[in-house]
Amino acid sequence: MLRLEKITIAQGDFLLKADFRVTPGRKTAVIGPSGAGKSTLLGAIGGFLPLAGGKLWYRDAEITEAKPGQRPIAMLFQDNNLFPHLSIARNIGLGIRPDLKLSPEDHARVAKALERVGLHGMGDRKPGELSGGQQSRAALARVLVQDRPVILLDEPFAALGPALRHEMLDLVHDLSDEANATLLMVTHDPQDVRRIADDVIFVEGGRAAAPQPAAALLENPPPALQAYLG
């Protein structure tokens, strides 16, 4: 279980506060107006931004100071999710061992992950040789082999068309179910929320609210959310 204990994130004049728990195994959408701090929140959870105050827990372990790679977290960003000079298989392999000293079992896992995301036999290609959708699949395959209990998605599919994005979201949905992972994803689109999210974290006015059941919230939004949804 991920717990944000009275955390404050400071970036220049900008302050964001949060104090809540995320129920394990649930898929949570992070929504809010542009610039409200959705990405900042995920960045802080992922370990890329230092906390100005408060603590971050996973289960019984405090991870406030842990390095990004040592957190129980796999994360995808808006861009640069793959190293363009490495083959897809190696990109995925990095999720198993950062030194790429892969055992035969590891290679098998990479192949399996490739197959799972529908990129069977494309392991030798470089990212530049794949389409946008395929690149997203490759990144997801790496998340799969990383096998972390928490997955953070900072709009990695923003550049894809609606159909392709929905396809990816469905894939994410299935993958996190299979892995029984906790998912936090930033999105702009209420449709995305309906499609995949159990809960919603609404970020606005320097505060990230505690997760609330998505369906209820969307049906009966508080005024601020109402204004955002339009």
């Binding site: 992922g46 890329f48 390095k67 790679g69 640069n80 363009p84 490495l86 950062p98 030194d99 990212p127």
Partner: protein, 505 residues
């Protein structure tokens, strides 16, 4: 940081060595002050002109694709790696009193030109350094992701806007560093400045150092002058590096590089003209060297080939030493906000090799015989000389790689050796190849400290060439010079090509 410390230590230890033996001698007189003034003047002019000429040449080369372009670019690098005496004779064959240019002018009934004077010094320095400046700028141009040019093409930006949005920011980043580098190289110029400058008017600090060391054996004055040289170079470096804006270009997806802003018509003709003029300026003197060398090849004694082998060994060793210093340093500098740390790299270049060699000789001598170490010390000094080029080439892309893939590598826990192995080294392959080629080529052509304490059986090719010249065997020496040129170019080409193999960027 360790590597940076190493460079400083290598130079400071050399000074310490000299300090141990220096006695108070004659200080600095009006002649030395005149030398300092002239040195700064010619170096500044050479730096400005080299970079000014490099901008249109690099731009034209960056946006045009034509048959033999890669080969031409490699060939254009040749003047930079030529031994001084060879280059001077080559230049004189073309621009000298009885050179080709004057012969043409005479045929045309025009008054002849004299190359000797400040303009000759600057011309020679531009000849040496235009290739370097062009390569550095070209490298910069090619670091603009293809996606940017695609965007510019999509927006249908006219060339003027491409310049403003893509090229000017890039130039602001690359030009000061390149100019500082050329300035520092020209600070230590000596034989070229004297010969092309037409006599003692063109006395540089390095000549005064040489005189103090070789002729007067006044180590204190030599050290003092070296120190002045170091301060001038360091000052130039700091000024240049401080004004470099520190921003990073976002990464592209390694797509094939195409330039949509290259237009036919006037622009194309101007590019062709620039490439033609630049190539002619750099390649005609090279042609003179080749012409002079071909008949000499057959006259070369067998020993020349053996010394070529020694030089190759020194080159490989120099590259190894260089990379083991430059890569960690580039990594360290890239993680710092200010660019000032790169100035450390210039220390090695601006310290006179004669001084470093002498200093190390003094330090090693009480411990063991320095002669067997001559080649090693030579390699070390070659690496120090090449370090600033290496850093200039390696730091910007390292910084870019580290910024762009910072979050991804941190989220994967990619660090230490793994980060080098799987991220930095492969991303920087082209630049590492370029650096290695440059260092190897420079080392092949460098006479180095070997002249101070050579083992007679382990002479290098340049040394052997000087020996041939000293023994009236001018033709054989020209052959050796050609061999040297070919070797340096081949080394450069192999490393550079190896770095860019299967990667257009």
């Amino acid at each position: 940081m360790v590597a940076g410390g190493f460079v400083v230590a290598a130079v400071l230890l050399a000074f310490l060595g000299i300090g141990l033996r220096a006695e108070v001698g004659r200080g600095i007189g009006p002649a030395e002050w005149a030398a300092i003034r002239f040195t700064v003047l010619q170096a500044a002019l050479s730096a400005i002109l080299s970079v000014a000429c490099a901008i249109p040449l690099a731009r034209a080369l960056a946006r045009r694709r034509f048959f033999g372009r890669g080969f031409l670019i490699t060939l254009l690098g040749a003047p930079f790696i030529l031994p001084v005496i060879v280059a001077v004779l080559g230049l004189l064959t073309v621009f000298g009193r009885s050179g080709w240019v004057n012969a043409l002018l005479q045929v045309a009934g025009l008054p002849t030109l004299s190359i000797y004077g400040l303009h000759g010094v600057v011309l020679a320095h531009v000849f040496f350094n235009l290739p370097l400046a062009t390569r550095l700028l070209l490298q910069g141009w090619q670091s603009i992701p293809a996606e940017r040019f695609r965007l510019a093409a999509q927006l249908n930006l006219p060339p003027k806007m491409v310049r403003r949005t893509l090229e000017t920011p890039l130039l602001l980043q690359v030009v000061p560093g390149a100019a500082a580098l050329v300035f520092v190289i020209c600070l230590t110029s000596f034989a070229v400045a004297l010969t092309l400058g037409g006599g003692p008017r063109a006395t540089t600090i390095e000549l005064a150092i040489y005189q103090a060391f070789r002729f007067d054996f006044d180590l204190a004055r030599a050290a003092l002058l070296s120190f002045i040289q170091l301060v001038l170079a360091g000052g130039a470096a700091l000024v240049a590096l401080w004004i470099i804006p520190n921003f990073s270009l976002s990464a592209g997806l390694d797509r094939e590089m195409r330039r949509w802003d290259a237009q036919p018509g006037l622009q194309s003709m101007m590019d062709a003209g620039v490439i033609f003029l630049g190539s002619a300026f750099l390649l005609v003197p090279l042609g003179a060297i080749v012409l002079a060398g071909v008949p000499g090849l057959a006259l070369m004694p067998l020993s020349v080939w053996k010394t070529a082998g020694n030089s190759l060994g020194v080159a490989v060793l120099s590259v190894a030493v260089l990379l083991s210093i430059a890569l960690p340093m580039a990594g360290w500098i890239s993680t710092r906000r200010a660019g000032g740390a790169e100035a450390i790299g210039l220390i090695g270049l601006s310290a006179s090799p004669l001084m470093i060699g002498t200093g190390w000789f003094i330090l090693i001598n009480p411990v063991t015989d320095p002669v067997p170490l001559a080649l090693l010390v030579t390699a070390l000094i070659n690496a120090l000389m090449a370090l600033p080029f290496a850093l200039r080439i390696l730091v910007p892309p390292t910084r870019e790689v580290l910024t762009t893939y910072d979050r991804l590598s941190r989220s994967l826990g990619l660090q230490g050796w793994s980060a080098w192995r799987w991220l930095v080294l492969p991303r920087l392959r082209a630049q590492i190849g370029f650096t290695a080629g440059l260092t190897g080529a420079l080392s092949v052509g460098d006479l180095g400290v070997i002249a101070l304490f050579a083992d007679p059986d382990r002479a290098t090719l340049p040394l052997q060439m000087y020996r041939l010249m000293g023994a009236y065997r001018t033709e054989a020496a020209a052959g050796a010079a050609l061999l040297l040129l070919a070797m340096a170019l081949a080394l450069f080409w192999i490393c550079d090509k190896g770095g860019r193999w299967r990667a257009e960027a």
